[in-house]
């Protein structure tokens, strides 16, 4: 690596999963066998795999530039979140709200690093996101400035101010979009996967969905139909332990939600969502399988959000995370110690330490990358602040592709 590191997105690097290099064939074959078996229950625990000397085969093959890009994206997401939290807490003119992604960065980045994020619309891989969308969007390649403008409902925002955080969408990088409803995105995503299979365009579809989606009727539909039709579909279930104020054990009868893959005879994989390299490994395996016609995978990433469900209550400007906020004295509200424990396994720290340990970066280089990411976020929000507000009458547009609907509020 050269000493100067460009933290802007290098899509050429990000878009090419490393070619298959020469590694111990025995071990690789074993791992592939397990992941690809499609056995009734192929539940693979990857938690702490690295500690046990089990870090998968893909990550170790990554070129340095790609490793750095992953770390960079984690930093970019983190500082986007922190800057937005500060904005919410300190700028009364800021109108955006947000479901913060901080703490979960390694999931979005590890998965998107295994995808094609550039190309024509029939080449790029697709990502469906949730209400907690900003991290997914950045990892997939959405422009931070335009997203920041959208989240404050500016006319020049990514979606013209019509959508806001829960409806971000950007075809140029295959980010089909966020969705504010819990449930429908996974079956919708399988429909895209069906279209891909029908036209033979060799793309892959990923849906990011929370532990809350397990209980929805749509969960079964998405897995069952994608399994039956062997669709190029990956369900990335980010288990951050809570849906709103309810612990996931209130709606999931199992410890590992990945277990649900069993009856569909597709792989169900548990991964440590704090470690971007482990996420990348399982995602890459699932992507190769999907692209080769092997069908879907359910990946459960164990992770945690540092802020509360929505907005920044409990947070302080300049500080990471939200503590001690429990408005309704809800019984299953997350304990503060739980949050601190997860913050001790921080995805930014973990990815930085891995890269330093592997000799890819020095600490100083890593710090420089993080500083640049922070600056990018500050600049993005400043740009957004200067953008124009929407024109009221434009609300009548975009109902259909052409024309606009009639105003009816005047009688």
């Amino acid at each position: 690596m050269s000493e100067t590191i460009d933290v802007t997105r290098n899509d050429d690097i990000r878009d090419e999963p490393a070619a298959d290099p020469i590694v111990s064939p025995g071990r690789r074959t074993f791992l592939k066998g397990v992941a690809g078996a499609g056995a009734a229950i192929s539940l693979i625990r990857a938690v702490d795999a690295r500690a046990e000397g089990e870090l998968g085969y893909w990550a170790k093959d990554l070129p340095a530039a790609k490793q750095v890009q992953m770390y960079t994206d984690i930093c970019r997401i983190r500082w986007h979140e922190r800057t937005m939290a500060d904005k919410m807490l300190t700028d009364s003119k800021y109108r955006g709200y947000d479901h913060f992604y901080a703490g979960q960065e390694a999931v979005a980045v590890g998965v998107c690093a295994a995808l094609r994020n550039k190309g024509n619309f029939d080449e790029v891989d697709y990502v469906y996101s949730s209400h907690r969308s900003t991290g997914h969007a950045l990892a997939k390649g959405v422009d931070m400035k335009k997203m920041a403008a959208e989240n404050d409902f500016r006319a020049t925002g990514l979606n013209g101010g019509y959508g806001g955080e829960m409806h971000l969408s950007d075809k140029s990088c295959g980010f089909i979009g966020a969705d504010g409803m819990i449930g429908p995105a996974p079956p919708m995503a399988t429909g895209s996967a069906f279209a891909i299979k029908a036209r033979g365009s060799k793309q892959v579809v990923v849906v990011f969905a929370g532990d809350g989606t397990y209980a929805t009727p749509h969960f079964h539909s998405a897995l069952n139909n994608s399994a039956l039709l062997k669709l190029p579909f990956i369900y990335v279930l980010e288990n951050n332990l809570y849906h709103q104020y309810a612990h996931y054990s209130l709606s999931c009868p199992m410890k590992d939600i990945a277990e649900a893959a069993g009856p569909y005879h597709i792989p169900g994989v548990v991964v440590n969502g704090q470690d971007v390299m482990q996420v990348y490994n399982v995602a890459r395996t699932a992507v190769e399988r999907a692209r080769a016609g092997g069908g879907p995978t359910l990946i459960e990433a164990k992770t945690y959000r540092y802020y509360n469900h929505w907005g920044a209550p409990g947070a302080k400007p300049g500080e990471l995370g939200a503590f001690g906020y429990d408005p309704l004295a809800i019984s299953s509200f997350r304990p503060e110690r739980e949050l601190r424990e997860w913050m001790a396994r921080d995805p930014v720290d973990i990815s930085r330490n891995v890269l330093v340990a592997w000799g890819t970066l020095t600490r100083a280089q890593a710090d420089a990358i993080e500083a640049a990411a922070k600056q990018e976020a500050i600049d993005a929000f400043a740009w957004a602040d200067a953008q124009p507000y929407c024109k009221p009458e434009d609300g009548l547009k975009n109902v259909f592709t052409q024309g606009s609907v009639a105003a009816r509020q005047f009688g």
């Binding site: 013209g160 919708m188 399988t190 429909g191 029908a198």
Partner: protein, 323 residues
């Protein structure tokens, strides 16, 4: 040109478009997209285009609707045929996703998709869930989808062509009671607009407005009224949303009498919208609705057939309004 049934006309339109666009897909449930008509080749989409493009799913109309939408979002034209039993299983997906995504994404999302939703309402003996005719109202309140309801084989074909070529989601209601209608339908591909009502009978004494499964009885009633010396004007709505207000208003400005006929339940039937639009724009007219009572349809043929609006009801109501 040949005599064709409703479904043959539809599948003829679809077959042409699927041949022209290799990416286009079709989702069905159990009942294969097959139609025959005397003197013409059997159309079998599953056979012709293969299971890779024409897929038979389990009993999951929610998935069919969501998958159709997802295919559209991926840039492929997609059509699904949802049997009447499932025509509200898919409601939320159409209402909250297909209907809103274009607006919510500020015009980024594109959804060249068609939802063929079967309706029943014609069959005595099946009862509540299998004889109802009610979804016209549910689907026409949704913004962002075009909701149409052809009532003739020729319109069925022309409007299917338009629906497939339309870049926006179209809810295409199919009143299965029209299954047996046959008429001359051109073999060539042609398109019929998705926003125009059709004046089926020109007259000056009263405007009678109906749609879909109500049309055959209304046309029958118009014949009877004409035989009795009245000059009814009959309008087939065809497009519930957007609704062709101009054609309605122009007619009632002339006739000053408006009778709406619906097989949907009275409260908030499409006729309510027709009357409200006209009442906002025409002064001094008189109005009346014929509709199914606000009750699930009972299974008993005696009860059901008494409750369902028919030509006799239309004739009597028209006379009351004009007389």
């Amino acid at each position: 040109m040949a005599k064709k049934s409703w479904m043959y006309s539809v599948l003829e339109a679809v077959q042409y478009e699927m041949r022209a666009d290799k990416n286009m897909v079709w989702f069905f449930e159990l009942t294969p997209p097959v139609a025959a008509t005397p003197g013409k080749p059997v159309i079998n989409l599953e056979k012709e285009f293969g299971r890779n493009r024409v897929v038979n799913t389990g009993i999951d109309e929610m998935w069919m609707a969501a998958a159709t939408l997802g295919a559209g979002l991926a840039g492929s034209k997609a059509v699904t045929y949802i049997p009447y039993q499932g025509n509200c299983m898919c409601f939320q997906i159409i209402q909250n996703h297909a209907g809103k995504l274009r607006s919510m994404t500020g015009g980024v999302a594109s959804m060249p998709i068609v939802y063929i939703l079967e309706m029943t309402g014609q069959t005595p003996g099946f009862g509540g869930q299998h004889s109802d005719y009610e979804i016209d109202s549910y689907y026409m309140h949704i913004p962002g989808v075009k909701t149409v309801i052809p009532s003739t084989p020729a319109d069925a074909k022309g409007m299917m062509v338009s629906a497939i070529r339309d870049p926006d989601p179209v809810v295409y209601l199919y009143p299965a009671g029209l299954r047996e209608l046959m008429e001359e339908v051109p073999d060539d591909q042609y398109s019929t607009p998705l926003d125009k009502a059709a004046v089926r009978v020109v007259g000056s004494d009263i405007t009678i407005v109906s749609s879909g499964g109500g049309m055959p009885d209304v046309l029958d009633a118009a014949e009877q009224l004409k035989a009795q010396g009245m000059k009814p004007e009959v309008i087939d709505l065809r497009c519930l949303k957007p609704m062709d207000t101009d054609t309605l208003v122009r007619s009632v400005q002339k006739t000053k009498r408006l009778l709406t006929v619906d097989q949907s339940y009275y409260t908030l039937c499409p006729g309510a919208e027709v009357i409200a639009r006209v009442a906002e724009n025409v002064d001094g007219a008189r109005f009346k609705r014929v509709a199914f009572p606000d009750s699930a349809p009972p299974a008993s043929p005696e009860m059901f057939l008494w409750m369902r609006p028919n030509a006799g009801h239309v004739v009597a109501a028209a006379k009351k309004l004009v007389g």
